[in-house]
Amino acid sequence: MTALVEMRNIKKHFGHVIALAGVSFDVHAGECHCLLGDNGAGKSTFIKIMSGVYQPTEGEVLVDGSPVVFDSPRAAMAAGIATVYQDLAMIPLMSVSRNFWMGREPEKGVWPLRTFDLAKADEITVAEMRRMGISLRGPDQAVGTLSGGERQTVAIARAVYFGAKVLILDEPTSALGVRQTANVLSTIDRVRKQGIGVVFITHNVRHALAVGDRFTVLNRGQTLGTAERGSVDAAALQDMMAGGQEMALLESSLGGTI
């Protein structure tokens, strides 16, 4: 089976900073591929190349087996790659429905009296949110009144509704509490079951192990290979993230508490 998206030997330099030094990665339909790494490892840079925000200094991006060049986020979106960024791209003062459709508002009527079809927008928003397991007070509820996890879910539901084949989530759980994290993880699971390939970025090994099918660890711009579910445990992943050695030392002095 060809991968939905494959990244081959990606390098990215920012001036004299080498953010990525040859990283390969792929994601298949219906799987959740976790990209792990400590802060500054290059995870965000990597997925920004996948979503067309940056162009790689070197390396290839393949969609369904054929090479592509994304010169803008729009191009990546058109190829079915949707990204939910760390800062979510949600506007707290606007309603859930207006946020959901932002940039892709359905319209009705004829020009110049064409209007935003709010009734249709509201109806679909409520239905899609329900599918993701969130019951809204109403489609006009402001996003600002939602919890962090619910906001993540709105962003994910939006990406899925607009035909994402690959969904990239950049640290969706890093700012959430226990219960909200569980909600987001179960949303990821639901999305995966719909046949969408999920790229889940996190620095939390336990969150990754909860939903991941495969795991790729980034460390200082380099990858230490990809592991299948069942072939690694939390300790091994933790070790790879920190770069082996030092972590083992640290951990022994902390008595295995992290």
Binding site: L88, M90, P92, L93, G103
Partner: protein, 373 residues
């Protein structure tokens, strides 16, 4: 986890919101309360001064309509996340440019009006373009234009005509096809009929004896109503309106999902300039003259109307209807104090108090909307 049933999560800690509280969190609320309050107040202190007779009503309606015209532009621009401090100078500039073109260069009035509109809207676009390109706050960029345009206005008036007040436009209006759109009156028949029927007062002496004291609705009021309806429709009922909210709410977030934020903002700067031109043209037609000092402080008055109307200074939230109510409050207070024979300097005190109250109330309302965060 893997077999999570699609149960619907509901946070039992979120209290159901009563319809009353829901009505409360509308941007127009402050404007509605304020309008009622102001009318009650002046009915009490100036009820027998003629303020609510036909002539008095027309007096404060015209003033309110003036504020409304520029408030619509300022409102949509503020919701899109920007300010235009050049509105007042633009009003002066547009009037003088029009007059110089029509009087000094002897262009037909309609051509002078069209050229003026085109140039001013272009200046609006330059304002917007500079804000986008430099990334500077629009406050600074348009402050520069506040001075540039005012300076050019005075210099131009003196250079071409050796005076700062340019008259003689009344003769040019006769027979012009475009001028009545700004200086004409509508519903004259209705007012004549109302005068005859004794519903409104008529002149008892002079050469206009028997004619009603109000002979029609000035086009300025028609412009105000049309702009308010158009602005409200655009903002709440169209895709572009959603983009206005999005651009002001969080420009970066809007860009991520493909909203053409730069285009939205530049268009709103152009609309603001257009509104200033409408104001200027109506005023020139009414007085038959242009003056280099017109429009002083109008940019702040427009912003005050918008803020009284419930818009947030930080952008992303507000209402055109609210701004229109803000304009009514402004107009009624300004003219009402005059009718009530109050010290006119008190107007400023009153204004400051209203402004402060409105901003405090808006901040509170925003906290409710965003869940006290």
């Amino acid at each position: 986890m893997t077999d999570a049933s699609p149960d619907v999560r509901r946070d039992e800690r979120i209290k159901p919101v009563s319809p009353f509280r829901r009505a409360l969190i509308r941007p127009e609320l402050g404007g509605i309360c304020g309008t009622i309050l102001v009318f009650l107040l002046f009915a009490a202190i100036a009820g027998d001064s003629g303020m609510f007779a036909a002539e008095g009503v027309m007096n404060w309606t015209v003033v309110s309509a003036q504020f409304m015209v520029i408030a619509v532009g300022a409102c949509l621009l503020m919701i899109a996340g920007e300010f235009d401090l050049s509105t007042g100078s633009m009003i002066g500039f547009a009037g003088v440019m029009m007059a110089i073109l029509a009087i000094h260069f002897s262009l037909p009035l309609w051509l002078a009006i069209i050229l003026t509109f085109a140039f001013c809207v272009l200046v609006g676009a330059v304002n917007g373009w500079l804000v986008i390109r430099t990334g500077l706050p629009s406050f600074i960029v348009t402050l520069a234009f506040l001075y540039i345009l005012r300076g050019l206005t005075i210099w131009g008036a003196v250079y071409f005509t050796r005076q700062t007040i340019i008259g003689g436009l009344n003769e040019k209006t006769a027979g012009d096809w475009l001028a009545p759109l700004f200086g004409g009156k509508v519903l004259t028949g209705l007012f004549t009929w109302m005068g005859e029927a004794g519903w409104i007062a008529t002149f008892t002496r002079g050469n206009r004896a028997g004619q009603p004291v109000i002979d029609g609705v000035p086009m300025l009021i028609v412009w105000a109503i049309v702009l308010v309806i158009f602005g409200h429709w655009l903002l709440t009922r169209t895709k572009f309106g959603n983009w206005i909210f999005a651009s002001g709410g969080d420009a970066q977030a809007a860009r991520y999902v493909g909203v053409p934020v730069n285009r939205v903002k530049i268009l709103m700067f152009m609309l603001s300039a257009f509104c200033a031109c409408v104001f200027a043209t109506c005023q020139v037609m009414e007085f038959g003259s242009a003056s280099a000092d017109r429009g002083l402080l109008k940019e702040f008055e427009a912003i005050i109307c918008v803020v009284i109307g419930g818009a947030l200074l930080t952008g992303g939230y507000g209402s055109v209807i609210g701004a229109a109510l803000g304009a009514i409050i402004f107009g009624v207070v300004q003219q009402g104090l005059f009718f009530a024979n109050a010290e006119s300097s008190l107007f400023r005190v009153f204004l400051g108090v209203i402004l402060l109250t409105a901003v405090i109330m808006n901040t509170y309302i925003r906290r409710i909307i965003t869940g006290e965060r």
